[in-house]
Amino acid sequence: MSVLDIKEHVDARGLSCPLPIVRTAQAVKGLASGDLVEVLATDPGSLKDFAAWSKSTGNEIVEQGEDGGVYRFVLRRK
């Protein structure tokens, strides 16, 4: 499906605020600059939260989408 080279996956489905962000930040810490991480979350607050996180950290949102209540983000480490 996706042709992106994803280095790390964060399954934050079912987790409440602030865990999707906290888990993602922990995962990103172990990556090199330019690496991609895919995050799945069900917290509807994630849409705004990941936008704010991206703006603050400089890690870019490459893709985002929603399918059946699951939000998917692909983020690139700065």
Partner: protein, 186 residues
Amino acid sequence: MTTLAEKPDMAFAPAAEPMPVPEHEHEARPRDILIIDYSGELEKTWATMILASTAGAMGAKTRVFVTFWGLQTFVKDERRITGQNWMQKMMSFMQRPGISHRKLSKMNFLGMGPWMMGKLAKQYNVASPKELLEAAQLMGVEFMPCQMTMDMYGLTRDDLVEGMGEPVGAATVIGLMQDGAAPLFI
């Protein structure tokens, strides 16, 4: 000395310009966050840990100054009686220290309120204050105990959880605010 006005063609020479700061480096340095954890109550401890771990995750230099009842949160969970003299020991007996033994300010009902909060949190995958504290420490959040409160309660650094910063005082906290950290008093 030659001024730029005399040599107009030099005005845009790269060497004469101050080092330009790339746009992304502005974004990479979000404002520092300073939380004063004062109350020690379960609901406020939870708020402190949620905000501290999130601020750390967002790449902000985050510090939490723990003082008065807030310091009780950072005593090791397994310590039952702390302090040097009888009054300090009595205080710890009356209110058990440790992050897993916080009480609600309202609806505590002899621990039934916190127990139900814990049950609901588990059911809805909400991280406990203890889990969030560990996450915050992993994210580099600095927890600074208040020296005065340590003295007053007779606490030693060995009584406090691992990874605490150096004990400091109010002047450090005010200094950080003056340097521009966004302050939160919880």
